[in-house]
């Protein structure tokens, strides 16, 4: 290779300030304003605590304990911190945290990003860190001037002593402040006094995402790095029986072909020869016990299983008796398929494995887990494993793998490569690589009284457990019930005097994982679509029946009413267009959506408009909340209309975006998001927008055509 006009690769690894006694090596986080040069010399950068450093150049570096995967935490966390710090916002920059227990998730006790929990969990801590730093800066100034700290105030990164007309910038005080003992029990502002939190604030990472400078895992270049792709078994759990690598090794640029636990790694100078080399591998696979897996058969099995009683997840009243005496019963079954996360950035991981250390660069949601798993694979103590979290080109749960599959594999490849190596997954690798949203079957029987009001509701769920066999088992599974399988069903908000939710958890050799909104992605659909059936069976307006049964749920009732009002529920629509409504409570947030849709002659669905109302407590950055809900709706519509992972003879039948299609701009509806003002603590935002859209759409299709949608993705053939 020769590259005379080699474009200057920015040096992105730099040594940071000493912190917590250790040397902090941090990944260069892109700066706002397109500035791509490294910030001012680090030795002039002082850590006031683990979450903020202030430079003599007035730069304020906020350390993000959470990964940025599009949800805006690289802006919302600095907003929280700076609400109290009161530095000049234009001086704020963000840096991903190294792995350290100080950065553990305040609720989950490990460093991670997921469960729509960053804002709720960090709401207090980041403000406290900002307040602590501010107090230390004031203290430093007061000491310098020989005045009482209480007589000083701060404004936009400057400490001011009005009586003596003295002013000192944060940058000039940082060194002295960093030597002070941090105060305990710092008071925080009353939310009514907020000047930054709650105001629409432009994201700090946007500029770098519009000129190519944002660095994702796939963009990491380490000196001397090789690139590898891995041939993985065509069936989950398969093993290499026989390998002939001769042809692959003849491809120019291929350096080595090595077996690793997950398959066969082709290690090359660059990606392209690695990929060509992989195509030349001749591998005989021992397919193992999953070679017969078929989703068609699973569907039949699930439906049969649902007829039998499962483990009880929730029981109130006497549903059995209530069903017997009901004036009318309604029964329906719903199916949703396996789904891949399909982040736009396929999985990848860079590993530099040395004799006594292991350095990793990757976009991960699961630093603590990844470090432990990588340490095990590298046979090193965890503190010898360094993880640099890059920007994530989408996560949606896939980059929070309990087995750290893509990280551990890269460690094994690095050992074989004997050099730093980047393992790249192609789109096909990514879609066929498993760890899907489970396939789920939901069977309902409801009983209605003579007035058409529901008096009994039973819901049987069949689907694999996400947490079984993982380190989350003890936390998430109780009495045989994986809470993720029944969330959104067992905690039904509608007042129902007789309720039962039971669960079957088949063991199937397809690896499953959390996928944006997790269990709510099936219960949101099935519960809310069935609710519509129940309303119609009782001759009720589905909106009015929801209102009635939410009498004791004021927050949900309020969002429902707001969505209906903004969507003009009940007003006439053009011919052929139907309106559907759904609510769903998830990640402690309340969401209601109204969808307007029509069905074309051949059965193609057109979604015209989605109106969403939500109550997510106190809002940190309103525009980010809107963006997350817009994105959640499109994510949910993609699942409703487009995607499924199916298996035949144990093999995944989809491979790329031609057979695993994403919603595109011309299919994207008009979306309105209305946020209910609230003074409650912040709740989830990344995921709650997803669950209600599929049922609202299914209900709109019923309103438009009289046809019930009980299986996702919606097929034109079901509606034609």
């Amino acid at each position: 290779m020769s590259a005379p006009a080699m474009v200057g690769r920015r040096e992105f690894i730099r040594t940071g300030a000493a912190m917590g006694g250790g040397l902090l090596v941090s990944l260069y986080a892109p700066l706002p304003g397109g500035s791509s040069s490294a910030p001012a010399a680090e030795e002039k950068d002082f850590a006031l605590n683990a979450f903020v450093r202030i430079g003599t150049d007035e730069s304020v570096t906020v350390i993000s304990a959470h990964s940025e995967m599009g949800q805006g935490v690289y802006t919302s966390l600095p907003m929280l911190l700076n609400e109290e710090l009161q530095a000049n916002w234009s001086k704020i920059r963000v840096e991903p945290a190294p792995v350290d227990k100080v950065y553990n998730h305040p609720v989950f006790g490990m460093q991670m990003t997921g469960g729509s929990t960053t804002s709720p969990a960090e709401w207090e801590r980041y403000r406290k860190m900002g307040a602590t730093a501010r107090i230390m800066l004031i203290e430093a100034a007061a000491t310098k001037w020989g005045v009482q700290a209480s007589t000083c105030r701060v404004e936009d990164g400057v400490v001011i002593h009005a009586a003596t007309n003295k002013r000192a910038t944060y940058g000039s005080l940082a060194n002295a402040a960093a030597r002070l003992t941090p105060p305990a029990n710092v008071p925080l502002k009353n939310p009514k006094e907020f000047t930054l939190v709650g105001k629409p604030t432009l994201r700090l990472d946007t500029p770098s995402k519009t000129n190519g400078t944002a660095q994702f895992g796939l963009d990491v270049i380490v000196p001397g790095m090789l690139t590898a792709v891995v041939a993985r078994p065509p069936v989950f759990g398969g093993k290499v029986a026989k390998l002939d690598a001769r042809e692959a090794l003849r491809v120019p640029g291929v350096k080595a072909v090595e077996q690793v636990p997950s398959g066969v790694a082709v290690i090359a100078e660059r990606f392209w020869p690695a990929k060509l080399g992989r195509e030349k591998l001749v591998i005989e696979w021992d397919l193992g016990p999953n070679a017969g897996l078929s989703t068609e058969k699973m569907l039949r099995d699930f439906r049969e299983t649902a007829l039998k009683p499962g483990a009880i997840a929730k029981k109130t009243g006497d549903p059995e008796a209530a069903l017997k005496t009901a004036a009318k019963t309604v029964t329906a079954e719903y199916d949703v398929p396996y789904l891949a996360h399909a982040m736009m950035e396929p999985l990848n991981c860079v590993v530099d494995l040395r004799r006594d250390s292991c350095e990793i660069w990757t976009g991960t949601q699961f630093e603590t887990v990844d470090r432990a798993n990588a340490a095990h694979a590298a046979a090193l103590p965890a503190d010898r494993v360094l993880i640099h979290t890059t920007l994530l080109g989408g996560g949606f749960g896939r980059r929070a793998n309990p087995n750290s599959d893509f990280v551990v594999e890269a460690v094994h490849v690095a050992r074989a490569a004997k050099a730093p190596v980047k393992v790249v997954w192609t789109r096909e690798d990514d879609l066929r690589g498993g760890w899907y949203r489970p396939m789920w079957h939901d069977r309902f029987v409801a009983g209605l009284d003579a007035n058409g009001d529901p008096v009994a509701w039973t819901h049987t769920i069949v689907g694999q457990s996400i947490m079984q066999g993982t380190l989350f088992e003890s936390f998430g599974i109780k009495d045989g019930i994986d809470s993720a399988s029944v969330e959104g069903a067992a905690d039904l908000l509608y007042g129902m005097p007789n309720l039962q939710v039971d669960l079957h958890t088949p063991k199937i050799g397809v690896p499953v994982q959390w996928w944006r909104s997790v269990g709510h992605s099936h219960t949101g659909f099935s519960v809310e679509a069935f609710f519509d059936e129940v309303a119609h069976a009782g001759g009720k307006d589905p909106y009015e029946l929801r209102r009635k049964l939410l009498a004791n749920q004021p927050r949900m009732k309020a969002v429902l009413e707001l969505a209906a009002q903004k969507a003009n529920w009940g007003s006439p629509l053009p011919p052929g267009v139907g309106r559907g409504i759904a609510t769903h409570f998830s990640f402690d947030s309340y969401v209601a959506q109204v969808v307007e849709a029509s069905v074309e002659k051949g059965g193609a669905v057109r979604v015209h408009r989605v109106v969403c109302a939500l109550d997510c407590g106190l809002v940190i950055n309103p525009d980010t909340v809107r963006a997350q809900i817009e994105g959640g709706i499109i994510f949910g519509l993609t699942a409703a209309l487009k995607t499924e992972i199916t298996l035949k003879d144990g093999r995944v039948e989809q491979g790329n975006f031609h057979d695993y299609q994403m919603l595109r701009i011309f299919e994207s509806p008009e979306i309105e998001v209305h946020i209910v003002p609230s003074g409650e603590n912040p709740t989830g935002v990344g995921e709650p927008g997803v669950p209600p859209v599929a049922p609202a759409l299914a209900n709109a299709i019923f309103a438009a055509t009289g046809k019930r949608v009980r299986r996702l993705p919606i097929r034109a053939s079901d509606l034609a």
Binding site: R203, P207, N211, P252, L391, G393, I634, S668
Partner: protein, 217 residues
């Protein structure tokens, strides 16, 4: 064409070409022709004793072209997609890999002003031509699309946005006041998994305003 049978009769040419000599006694089977089996010209060419040159796929060869106005030369297999030449050989990582099949648009660059999915374009195709990548659009963020993208906070994860902006730039260059339908058509090949489509649409309209205002000055 499956000519592996005669590869042993080939010799490396100085200009990175392979010289194939069809061996004596070679009988062409219809199956050997693949998609070309109805092409009589191909049939007549592949006869014993005929010699022809083909690019040596898999062997490095120098390709020269311009990226963002600067001349570059790379010494790679000419079949290597431009995307991987940009990323791996030139270290320009702003152009993204999403599918490798021209299905998602993440790898969109401009070739002589037209949108090109660089993941399926062999680098040999850009020999002597001018390629523009996201890094060349305007590193200072002054392009109307970048200004609009920032003003409306379009990106979420941001991974697809290089491709989105490069596709939008071609649209705006050809159509200074695109309608929603024009946007749908021009942007239909670019996937965003985060679902930023509503903002992309608004930002293209906004960029069009900014660009027109800039012109009116």
């Amino acid at each position: 064409m499956r000519l592996r049978a005669c590869q042993s009769h080939s010799e490396k040419d100085h200009c990175g070409l392979l010289r194939f000599v069809i061996p004596r006694g070679f009988r062409l089977q219809a199956s050997n022709l693949g998609k070309n089996r109805h092409n009589l010209r191909v049939y007549n060419l592949i006869q014993p004793g005929n010699t022809f040159l083909v690019p040596d796929r898999g062997r490095p060869q120098v390709t020269r072209f311009h990226v963002n106005g600067k001349p570059v030369e790379v010494d790679v297999d000419p079949a290597t997609p431009l995307l991987w030449v940009l990323r791996d050989s030139l270290g320009m990582t702003g152009t993204k890999f999403g599918c490798g099949m021209a299905l998602c648009g993440a790898c969109t660059v401009h070739l002589d002003g037209k949108a090109l999915r660089s993941c399926v374009a062999p680098v040999s195709r850009v020999e002597g031509k001018r390629v523009t990548t996201i890094e060349g659009l305007s590193i200072n963020l002054t392009h109307p699309l970048q200004r609009a993208w920032i003003e409306l906070d379009v990106p979420q994860c941001g991974y697809c946005q290089s491709g989105q902006i490069m596709s939008a730039a071609v649209l705006l260059a050809e159509n200074l006041k695109p309608s929603d339908e024009d946007i749908d058509e021009a942007m239909g090949g670019n996937i965003c998994r985060c679902g930023t489509y509503p903002r992309i649409r608004k930002a293209i309209h906004r960029a069009s305003e900014l660009a027109n205002a800039g012109r009116a000055k």
